[in-house]
Amino acid sequence: MRYLTFLLAAMSLSAQEPDTVAATTAALTASKENPAAVERGSKLFQANCAGCHGATAKGGPGAPDLIRSLLVLDDEKGILIAPVLRNGRPDKGMPASNLAEPQIADIVAWLHVQTYAAGHRNTYAFLDVVTGDSKKGEAYFRSKCSSCHSATGDLAGVGKRYEPLALQTRWLLPRGAAKSTVKVTMPSGETVSGVLDRVDDFNVSLRDATGEYRSFSRDVDSPKVEITNPLKAHTDLLRVYSDADIHNVTAYLVTLR
């Protein structure tokens, strides 16, 4: 999820058009293409190719989708694409271009970023998640969250610390929160408590208050094992929230700056 924080910049010149989604900076970086070449290629594609193949190369009337083109997907270093750009495909109505070799290389670089971006979901850019009503979100927060959390206490400035998407993801399921604790009650009545280390049907282990490691064999209900998960309040609310509640709370938390 770390990539979420740097996903905002749009690269393509055509990003102002409603029908386009530009490859993200994450895709650009991961594709290992030269950013300057890609930037030039973007302009060249819009000027020379987009008229038929569309601004995002997904095809247009009579011209194929280049992102799903086997020739484009199979290409390395322009070996397959460059001859098509040089010579056109007169039999299919594509004219030869007057592009110079470095310009062809720039368009190839841009196309490679587009196919990389489509096929690698870990480079996708999330869109605006702040669509809720912050007033309603505040009211929801007061009724459901304020018994554990405070806008001026633990959550003060939380809207500054996280991008909205990371904030929404984290408040639904906090990462790095306090660990579960466990109380083990022996048949004798003796109890041992501490921070849960591991538990399965056969063993349970913990670190007690002195930091000592303790482990116990389990056989169904003996010893008795009671686990307290500090995130349970969050998990329980998953069946309670409406999607509007979620968006409203996010809109409110974003204002805690």
């Binding site: 029908d19 989604v21 799903r68 196919t115 489509a118 979901r121």
Partner: protein, 514 residues
């Protein structure tokens, strides 16, 4: 030809007297139910290690054995991506190791080999079908089944029916066409190819905006199916439609994605279908193996097929025609459906389709269950399935009128935990459940006539009483259990075999000293 068509598929089953494990699920039914009884409820507490073997790759790459091993003529054959091993089933001794050359295909997993006489069949990450000589591990031939540049990747175990080597395919990042193929066992030549989405003029094309959307609608075939020899039907589940979470370019039900389909293995023609998730937008492949049950409904003997689907519903169909008998949820967190229609299909709530600001959906994309095999025991009449109750936020990231690839993502929001469920196959009701204190609940199942149910949780291999869910035995292994347990008989001794990471563990009950 007639002789082979009728006799060849059953040859291993007949000769082995069901002592082996000659195909993906042990037999064609998908039940993962073994008739063996030497290991049974009265002696399972004495089950102990017979052998353990670690397997390594040349060059030291990490090995993860997720495959269903075959056991034929006292030899085990199993895989990990790019690797096939043959091992003596008595003691785990390696007979040969075939390593496929380095390639760019995904190494997410490999589900195993298929076998025909002395020939083995294996799919590579870069989507070749390779035939090996089972006696030597030497390559006989290889043929391409898909172009990896289009993001195809092959993980499926080939299924052998008569002289048909049936191969599935995977990969859903670039909207590539989904299909199933059959190849000749001697030459690898293509016998037929069935696309999982219709082409121009074919039935079902009306469930797509146009032929182009259908042809790029994916629906992969990455888990093997089951086979009914009487009906001569290969019954399997198909994967999700593409673009996965951005659905604006594929309005309609999107047949035959997320469906249970019955294919004639001789012709490659579809005989019937049942779509489990119409117009899926949550990556819920319906590839979970369909399980063939010969049961009784309302006093009538019926040929049935059951599936616990990744979308959270249990389906029971008549396998002669695909007609629905029962549809019922098996997780209580499910929130994406407005009910069930007259045909027994869930009705997706459009408000739970991915949006740019996110919607909370259960199950998450990893599902209420997944490709891990369930089991059906005819002794108990129960269907055992590993389950989970995950939630996640589903986001659409591609709002273009022609989105591509996934076009969205989901981010985990928590889970109410994993459980082993024992379902009554006639009603779908949970007869008993075992909630796991930790670890994934989505694990493989095996039942036996020894009145045992084997499954795993984390590093533990566990035996249950299949009637009531009481734990009878367990063993902690060296890594998380990574495949489904199988069982087989060699020289009068029954073995229970399972993989954990790069190692295989075989257990037996000790015999009294003579």
């Amino acid at each position: 030809m007639t002789f082979w068509r009728i006799f060849a598929p059953f040859l291993p089953l007949l000769l082995l007297g069901q002592q082996g494990w000659p195909t993906y699920s042990g037999d064609y039914s998908g039940r993962r139910f073994s008739p063996l009884t030497q290991i049974n409820a009265s002696n399972v507490h004495t089950l102990s290690l017979a052998w353990a073997t670690r397997f390594t790759a040349t060059g030291g790459a990490a090995i993860q054995i997720k495959s269903a091993p075959l056991m034929v003529n006292n030899i085990l054959y199993f895989t990990s991506p790019n690797h096939v091993w043959a091992v003596d089933a008595r003691d785990g001794h390696e007979l040969w190791h075939y390593q496929y050359p380095p390639n760019t295909g995904s190494t997410i997993g490999n589900r195993g080999v298929g076998m025909y006489g002395n020939w083995l069949f294996f799919e590579s990450p870069d989507s070749h079908l390779i035939s090996l000589d089972a006696r030597t591990g030497k390559e006989r031939w290889k043929v391409s089944i898909a172009n990896p540049k289009l993001d195809y990747t092959s993980t499926a175990a080939p299924i052998v029916i008569g002289n048909h080597i049936i191969t599935g395919i995977g990969g859903d990042h670039l909207d590539n066409p989904g299909f199933l193929e059959s190849h000749d066992p001697e030459t690898g030549a293509l016998q037929w190819k069935w696309f999982t989405t219709p082409r121009k003029g074919e039935p079902g094309i009306e469930t797509w905006p146009d032929e182009y959307a259908s042809a790029h609608g994916t629906g992969q075939t990455w888990i093997p199916g089951s086979y009914d020899p009487e009906l001569n039907l290969y019954i399997l589940g198909t994967g999700n439609p593409n673009p996965v979470m951005a659905d604006q370019s594929r309005k309609g039900d999107n047949l035959y994605t997320c469906s249970i389909v019955a294919i004639n293995p001789d012709t490659g023609k579809m005989v019937w279908y049942f779509q489990a998730t119409p117009h899926d937008t949550h990556d819920w492949d319906a590839t979970e193996i369909p399980v063939l049950i010969d049961g009784v409904i309302n006093g009538q003997p019926r040929k049935l097929v059951a599936q616990a689907n990744r979308n959270g519903y249990f389906f029971l169909l008549d396998r002669t025609n695909g007609k629905n008998i029962l549809t019922t949820p098996f997780i209580d967190s499910l929130n994406w459906s407005k009910g069930v229609n007259a045909k027994g299909q869930p009705i997706p709530d459009p408000a739970k389709n991915p949006t740019t600001d996110g919607v909370l959906v259960s199950p998450a994309s990893n599902g209420a269950t997944n490709w891990q095999s369930p089991s059906f025991s005819p002794d108990t009449g129960m269907f055992y399935v590993g389950s989970n109750r995950p939630f996640s936020m589903f986001y659409k990231t591609d709002t273009d009128s022609h989105p591509q690839g996934w076009g969205g993502l989901d981010t985990g929001a928590g889970t109410d935990g994993g459980a082993l469920l024992a379902l009554d196959y006639k009603t779908g009701k949970i007869n008993w459940r075992h909630d796991w204190p930790s670890g994934s609940g989505v694990t493989h199942m095996l039942t036996t006539a020894g009145k045992l149910l084997f499954t795993s949780n984390g590093q533990n291999l566990i035996a249950f009483n299949p009637s009531n869910g009481k734990i009878l035995w367990h063993a902690g292994l060296t890594a998380n259990v990574s495949n489904g347990p199988i069982t087989y008989m060699v020289d009068g001794r029954q073995y229970l075999l399972v993989a954990a990471g790069d190692s295989m563990f075989a257990f037996t009950v000790n015999q009294p000293a003579k």
